[in-house]
């Protein structure tokens, strides 16, 4: 009953072009996407004077599988290092205002650096189980809290002829994200997300250092323009 009611509502709610993080089922649409960037800082004690990474491009694409399943794909790109992930997410409403999703994404990252003093490249596979809960306010604001953990599956690096790889799987850490999605200019919607990343290894820092046995904290902001 609830699903039918919500499907009927879907024509009035700005779900299309309005929600990327918010776990809203795709009843009548086939895809949603956003383009934006992420910006994070790195820990001073490890990366020293390199405190601010250059912004990372962020393309996010949701594809409908059926009323309850969405394929969530994301490309994070910085040219010299890039990360692509995809995974199936189960989404369902709890009531008219609260929605949840559970999913598992598989990520692949790679980087290369060949300039004075560097002849390095690396790649890896990471698994990201995640849960989201979204709250739709009476206004036009969507609030989503996403909790995600990660497991490093594979790491490979090469410096010149010296190669190293490890398929030792380990718990890498957790990421908590608070995302706000709402209209911004004309009918365009915007995603603002604040993430607290605590990881032993973070793919954007592969050229600065490998992993530590302690989780390093990276605050991150994501700005996305929903297309």
């Amino acid at each position: 009953m609830l699903f039918q009611a919500l499907i009927a509502q879907d024509t009035t709610f700005h779900s299309k072009h309005a929600a990327i993080y918010f776990p809203y089922p795709m009843y009548k649409e086939h895809w949603r996407s956003s383009i934006g960037f992420t910006l994070m800082t790195t820990p001073e004690d490890i990366t020293e004077e390199v405190r601010l990474r250059i912004p990372c491009g962020d393309y996010h694409l949701l594809t409908k599988i059926n009323n309850h399943f969405i394929l969530d794909s994301r490309l994070l790109f910085q040219v010299l290092q890039n990360h692509v992930s995809t995974g199936l997410h189960y989404v369902r409403p709890i009531n008219e205002n609260v929605y949840i999703s559970a999913g598992n994404d598989i990520g692949f990252w790679f980087g290369y650096l060949k300039l004075s003093g560097f002849d390095s490249k690396a790649l890896g596979w990471i698994d990201y189980p995640n849960l989201s809960i979204g709250y739709k306010t009476k206004k036009d604001l969507l609030i989503t809290f996403k909790a995600q953990v990660s497991f490093n599956l594979y790491y490979q690096a090469a410096n010149g002829a010296v190669k190293y790889s490890s398929s030792k799987r380990y718990y890498n850490g957790e990421t908590f994200t608070l995302a706000l999605e709402q209209p911004f200019y004309n009918k365009k919607h915007l995603t603002l997300a604040f993430s607290a990343i605590s990881n032993k290894f973070y793919w954007q820092t592969w050229a600065l250092f490998y992993k530590t046995n302690r989780e390093i904290y990276y605050p991150q902001i994501t700005v996305g323009f929903i297309l």
Binding site: E44, D45, I46, E48, E49, V98, L113, G117, F118, D119, S120, I133, Y135, I143, F145, A147, A158, N159, G160, A161, V162, Y164, S166, E174, T175, F176, L178, A196, S198, F209, Y210, T212, N213, R214, E215, Y217
Partner: protein
């Protein structure tokens, strides 16, 4: 409902905030047996004979299967203190102990640490008379496989050591035909690795031999009034110093101002290069100093100190090489403007051609270009040495020691380089 969700979201978000990591070094002065007034210092020959590669039993999961055991010393106010260090193959673990003899047995008392984590604790080891102490304390000890066994315990933090640890002598330490430098970055390691003393401090210089270092790299800058000091970063920042309200480039301040207002993370003053080299020559067994050039300007004040302290080391009967680092073109050009650059010991990070041009003693490429065995062979053919920097990933250190032909490795983890070098066959 709304309120509950909000509180939940907020609290979970807050809990995701940064964790603080710190290492509290255990106090090793609590072993009553070791503190027995009858306990005596170990003879020099005993210490030398004790050095070697040991097999680890009981605790091989914790520390790995092998340990390289090596002695070092430090001189404070005329008193020499000896430390025996054990370097392990797992998680960059090591122990650092002092040694004494008591009733025919040898006692080793100290602490262990894993550099990849915050784990640390006490270590108590004993070599009984029948387990090799009699041999080691004899006039001319000659040790071979299985003849010395250290038995004891390790614990967590300040807790009494209760977990068994046994080390059995297996063979001599590896020593390559030509001297190999285990060079410690920033005088011994980074402050971020939660060491008990600050990087680029005199306290770190005095400690680094315990970590297996045979040499050090230090970062040299000038103060506003031209005093060469040790400091790595471009600016005063909280990675290196305690909060003082002073910000910006260190070159904006005179030595006097820094000396009064600025303290390193563990409370030390920023040392002058003179203070650092004095400590190296008169208080440590270090045989190599790499003066990494972080400044842009005249090399002459640094060159004068280099000359002065190499002569002082020679007069003190110490073997010591002090080299000026040439990390980039601007420092290279400045160095070549010295009238006597060709006879000034230097280390060049640029090309092999630049090594020849500057007559540098050492070529030092970044580790990210690999082992470069062909290039290293060319350098050796020129009668020069090759060091690689800064290798910190244990797996890469192993590969560089086993597959590379470098004459030295610069690392923030000299204990890891020491382990790999000494156990290499």
């Amino acid at each position: 409902m709304k309120k509950n969700i909000s509180i939940f979201l907020l609290s979970v978000f807050l809990f995701a905030c940064k964790k603080e990591y710190k290492v509290t070094m255990p106090d090793a002065g609590t072993w009553d047996l070791f503190n027995d007034p009858a306990a005596q210092a170990l003879p020099a020959a005993t210490k030398t004979a004790m050095e070697g590669v040991y097999t680890v039993t009981n605790a091989s999961v914790m520390f790995g299967k092998l340990a390289a055991v090596k002695w070092s010393y430090v001189i404070n106010n005329g008193d020499t203190t000896f430390h025996v260090s054990g370097f392990f193959g797992t998680d960059i673990a090591y122990f650092i102990c002092e040694g004494k003899q008591l009733n025919g047995a040898i006692l080793l008392n100290g602490y262990w640490r894993k550099m990849v984590s915050t784990e640390t604790g006490l270590v108590h080891l004993t070599i009984d008379a029948t387990a090799g102490a009699s041999l080691l304390l004899s006039n001319s000890p000659l040790v071979s496989e299985g003849m010395v066994q250290m038995n004891g315990f390790y614990g967590q933090g300040q807790q009494e050591p209760l977990t068994p640890l046994t080390l059995t002598y297996a063979r001599k330490l590896n020593h390559s035909p030509t001297p190999f430098q285990i060079a410690a970055h920033r005088s011994g390691g980074r402050t971020s690795d939660l060491l008990p003393v600050s990087e680029n401090s005199v306290a770190m210089i005095l400690k680094t031999s315990e970590f297996g270092s045979t040499g050090i790299e230090v970062d040299v800058r000038y103060t506003k009034d031209g005093v060469p000091i040790l400091y790595h970063d471009n600016t005063l920042n909280l990675r290196e110093i305690q909060k003082s309200g002073l910000v910006g480039p260190i070159e904006n301040y005179t030595y006097d101002q820094l000396s009064v207002f600025v303290r390193l993370i563990h409370g030390e003053k920023i040392p002058t290069l003179r203070e650092a080299l004095t400590a190296v020559v008169y208080q440590t067994p270090l045989t190599f100093v790499w003066l990494d050039t972080k400044y842009v300007g005249s090399v002459k004040p640094v060159q004068r100190l280099q000359n002065e302290f190499m002569q002082k080391a020679k007069a003190a009967g110490r073997k010591l090489d002090i080299v000026i680092g040439l990390p980039a073109q601007v420092q290279f050009d400045e160095f070549l403007s010295l009238p006597d650059y060709a006879s000034t010991p230097s280390l060049c990070e640029l090309s092999i051609d630049d090594v020849a041009k500057s007559n540098a003693l050492i070529w030092a490429p970044r580790f990210t270009e690999g082992t470069q065995n062909d290039e290293v062979a060319k350098i050796h053919a020129m009668g020069k040495k090759a060091f690689v920097w800064t290798v910190d990933v244990p797996e890469f250190i192993t590969r560089f020691v086993n597959e590379g032909h470098f004459d030295g490795i610069l690392s923030n983890f000299p204990s890891c380089v020491a382990y790999n070098y000494y156990v290499h066959q």
